[in-house]
Every structure is written in structure tokens, then in C-alpha cells.
């Protein structure tokens, strides 16, 4: 389905996750972050870049990964993206949320 984000038609799935990462940019990102009540700071951007890099390499995202990322510790991660930090941060980063097979 299409969703108007930053005055652009963006392809998203039923839960609002971007389907085509090529449609993501900082403007789209800030818009989605706003909807999640997250105000982007430098630290947020750092985390987003880390997540996108993992996604590019097809490496699974996990809290353990965050712990070992050297970018941020887990408490800070929860503070930056309150309530389901992986779910929210991946939505904002324009990448799929971590999922199981069904």
C-alpha cells in the first residue's frame, strides 16, 4: 500500500514498514520518527546507520548485536526508542522489523 510520508507516496506494508529501501531518506526518516514521538538526535542517526549497515550485510538484528555494536548500550537504546526499541528503530530506519518464519 501507499502512504504519504514527507509529501511523497511511499510503498509500505500493513504495519507501515518501508517495502523499498530506495525510497528512504533523512526527510522520510524524520517524518516517521515524528509519528513515533521520537525526535532525532545525533545518537539516533548513529544507531539508524548501524541498523542499516547490518541490514545491507543481511545480518540478523538482535539486542545482543546492539550490546556488541560499540554504538550504544541497551539502556540508552531503550531511552532513544522507548517501547519496543528494535521494532521502532527499524521502522524509522526504513528496514524490515526482526521477524520469525510465521
Amino acid at each position: 500500500m501507499k502512504k504519504l510520508i514527507a509529501n511523497r507516496e511511499i510503498d509500505v506494508n500493513e504495519e507501515g514498514y518501508l517495502i523499498d529501501f530506495k525510497q528512504w531518506d533523512r526527510e522520510v526518516c524524520e517524518c516517521i520518527a515524528g509519528e513515533c514521538n521520537v525526535v532525532m538526535t545525533e545518537k539516533h542517526w548513529e544507531v539508524i546507520e548501524y541498523l542499516q549497515d547490518k541490514h545491507r550485510k543481511e545480518e540478523p538484528l538482535s539486542i545482543r548485536g546492539i550490546k556488541r555494536s560499540g554504538v550504544i548500550n541497551i539502556k540508552e537504546f531503550y531511552n532513544l526508542f522507548p517501547g519496543g526499541p528494535l521494532k521502532k528503530s527499524t521502522l524509522i530506519a526504513g528496514i524490515p522489523k526482526p521477524k520469525s518464519c510465521i
Partner: protein, 411 residues
């Protein structure tokens, strides 16, 4: 004479030995398989052991029975892989050279990764069912458990057989109903993911099962520690879930051998090309089954489909031909839903599980993403197929290694 060595004689390694022994000329190639353990476990059976549906003897056999006689079977601990010297170092410092290496060392549970999990209450009020010992201890516990809060919990992804914890919750519901004590048991499913079901079509088709069976969901729960003194698990957001009986799936990791040899990622899984199964860092090392870092399920069916493709790619590698980029992440799994019913799911890297008929379009006899008895009998029949066909590398009729789009309702 050249050497092909397979590390690990579990599902994937045993299948590869059976595949390759038929294809590699004996006068040119010596095939060796190395595994320190003598017993081969039917791991899908660990789900049934706690509920007294399977007995111990139905889930284990002597591994030797499944290794072809022309394959050199070494039962020793593997100390190190030396990818630069192309050698394997065994526990007694014996060195085995290889021309081609197939790593099939699987994944295992690591409860020690979480504070308090494998402490004094391990196998008293905290259990896993992903090991033979855990499943058996849990069976003994359940036989005379008086009820209370049962928490079924996933520590972190990825795990082997990602649907098993959900199946465990469904079977527990049936088990306690049959015992006439369901009203005394409160079942909660705790997951680090956003739900028990995470894909849109499966959520739509299956979420009702949780409500029907009165299984509560706690989602986005990333465990920090087990507070075993107060019988609760605590997550990083300080959310707490109380239990009387905790059935957890601990962190799953690749073998320590992979870490010792410096070949793995942060969970000891080996970076592997997702379509060819060649390791990313060494062209004469191939990886199969749970030992890979591929973004598909860690499941026996996946290893089976991979084995057919890896056999061909090893032959191509020997002949100096380009490898086939044929592996599509295909997985095919029965999902027990309790009351003698099951679901069947068929999916790959690109396609999530959907409804439809399997393996024959419009006919079935199995139904995809729908619970029925036929699928349950399929799951039980699978144990026979595993011991008698799968391990021996015999293809399963009508189920090709690449996923078929036929018979599936994508819209």
C-alpha cells in the same frame, strides 16, 4: 588421493556423507566425517518427549547406522579448523588435511548467556526442551506438576526451529486439558519479537489459535536476567513476568569450535553465500544446516534442501565450473497446534507462508497455513521419513529443493 572432510554427523552432515559417497569417485576421493558424539538424535521429537507422546527410544539411534561404510567415520573432538593450512586438528593433536571442507557443526543452546538461567533452578523450575536432557527432565517435571504459571519463553533470535516454542504452548494446552487440569494452568508466551506470529498472512490466519487456547502473549520482551529467587524473568525495560514453571529457549549459538577457529560471527555462525552455500571467506569451505548465518530457518527441512544443492555445487567446484546460485531459502515445516491437528508452512527467502494446497496444486492432500488432522499425521509420519529417507539422502517425492509457487494463494 584427495580429501573431503565433513565436520559434524548431525542431520546435515550425515545427509552430505550419503549424498557425496555416491558421487565422488572412490579412487580419487577419501571422505571423512568427524563427530565426537555417538548418538544421533531426532531433534523434532524433543517437542513431543515432554508430553509423553514420544518415548526416549523414538528420538535417538546410534549415529553409525546412518554413515555409509565407504566413509571414514572419526569419533573425536575437533580442536581447530586451520583454514590457511587446510587442516583439521583433532583432540589428540592429530592433523587431517583437506582439499574440501564441509562444516555441519549445527547450533546449540547456551543458557549461560543469560544471568540466572542455568543457575540453581536449572531443571528444577527452569527447563529447556531443545536438548535431550532438557526435554526428558521437563517430561518428568510435567508428569506430576500441580499447575500454576507456565511461561514459554524465547531468549533471542535466531533459534533453531522458530515455531517449536509456539508448538510447545499449543501442546501444553492440549496436555493439561486432557489431564483435566487446564483451569489450574496459566499459559503465557513471551517473545522478543513483536508477536507470536510476525508475518502478516500468518497473523491473520492463525492468531485466533492463541485466543481459543487461552494463551497470553507478552511481546517485545528482551530478557536481561532470570530472577530465580523471586521466580520471574526481567527484561531491559524492567518489565517482569512471573513464573512457576519457566520453559525457555536459551540463546542458540554455533559450536565453540567455530569461535576457536575464528570463523564465525557474534553467535558463532559462519558467514555463508546465501545461494551457493560456499563460505564467504574461504572458497574450499562450504557450510550447511544450522551452522550457516543464512537468513532462513534453522530446520531439518532446510538442511535437506541445501544438501541437494550443495552436492551439485561441490561437484562443480571440483570440476572448476561456476557454482549454481540455486538455494532459495526453502523451508517446509509442520506446526503442531494440539488436539491431533497441525499446520503446514512452505516458504523461502522471498515468500512468506501463505494458504494453499501442498504438494499438489488444488488437491493437496496437505493444506498450507490451516490446521487439520492430515497435517498432524504428516508430522508424525515425518519421523519415519527422517530415519529412513532424509538422512540417507533420498529425495522426498514431489517436494523439490527449490520452492514451488504452485498451489499457493499469494493474494
Amino acid at each position: 588421493m584427495k580429501n573431503l572432510i565433513i565436520l559434524g554427523a548431525g542431520t546435515a552432515g550425515t545427509m552430505m556423507a550419503n549424498h557425496l559417497v555416491k558421487k565422488l569417485p572412490k579412487k580419487d576421493w577419501k571422505i571423512t566425517i568427524i563427530d565426537q558424539y555417538k548418538t544421533h538424535y531426532y531433534q523434532p521429537g524433543f517437542l513431543f518427549l515432554p508430553f509423553d507422546i514420544y518415548t526416549e527410544n523414538q528420538v535417538k539411534k546410534d549415529g553409525k547406522k546412518f554413515i555409509p561404510k565407504d566413509v571414514n567415520y572419526v569419533q573425536k573432538l575437533i580442536e581447530l579448523i586451520n583454514p590457511d593450512a587446510n587442516t583439521i586438528q583433532l583432540e589428540d593433536d592429530e592433523m587431517l588435511p583437506y582439499d574440501i571442507l564441509v562444516v555441519a557443526t549445527g547450533s546449540k543452546t547456551a543458557p549461560e548467556e543469560i544471568d540466572g538461567m542455568s543457575g540453581p533452578d536449572w531443571y528444577k523450575t527452569i527447563f529447556d526442551f531443545y536438548t535431550y536432557e532438557g526435554a526428558k527432565a521437563l517430561r518428568d517435571k510435567l508428569r506430576d506438576w500441580k499447575g500454576g504459571k507456565l511461561v514459554v519463553h524465547i531468549t533471542e533470535m535466531p533459534i533453531k526451529c522458530p515455531v517449536a516454542p509456539l508448538e510447545f504452548a499449543f501442546l501444553a494446552d492440549s496436555y493439561f486439558r486432557k489431564k483435566g487440569m487446564r483451569d489450574k494452568v496459566d499459559i503465557t508466551y513471551v517473545t522478543p519479537l513483536s508477536g507470536a506470529f510476525t508475518k502478516p498472512k500468518a497473523t491473520k490466519a492463525l492468531h485466533h489459535l492463541l485466543e481459543e487456547k487461552d494463551i497470553k502473549e507478552v511481546v517485545d520482551f528482551n530478557i536481561e536476567r532470570v530472577d530465580y529467587k523471586n521466580n520471574k524473568i526481567v527484561d531491559y525495560a524492567d518489565v517482569e513476568v512471573e513464573y512457576d514453571l519457566l520453559v525457555t529457549v536459551p540463546t542458540n549459538m554455533g559450536d565453540e569450535l567455530i569461535e576457536r577457529s575464528g570463523l564465525g560471527d557474534e553467535l558463532n555462525f559462519i558467514p555463508t553465500h546465501k545461494t551457493t552455500l560456499q563460505s564467504k571467506n574461504h572458497e574450499n569451505i562450504f557450510v550447511i544446516g544450522d551452522a550457516t548465518n543464512l537468513p532462513t530457518s534453522k530446520a531439518g527441512s532446510v538442511a535437506h534442501f541445501e544438501a541437494e544443492i550443495l552436492e551439485e555445487n561441490i561437484l562443480r567446484y571440483i570440476e572448476g565450473k561456476p557454482l549454481k546460485e540455486d538455494f532459495d531459502g526453502h523451508a517446509n515445516c509442520f506446526v503442531e497446534t494440539g488436539n491431533n491437528k497441525a499446520l503446514l508452512i512452505d516458504f523461502n527467502y522471498d515468500h512468506e507462508p501463505v494458504e494453499g494446497k501442498f504438494p499438489f496444486q488444488g488437491i493437496g492432500p496437505m493444506s498450507l497455513l490451516k490446521e487439520n488432522r492430515m497435517n498432524h499425521w504428516g508430522k508424525l509420519a515425518f519421523r519415519w521419513i527422517y530415519w529412513n529417507m532424509l538422512l540417507k539422502g533420498i529425495p522426498i517425492p514431489f517436494v523439490p529443493s527449490k520452492m514451488s509457487l504452485k498451489g499457493k494463494n499469494f493474494e
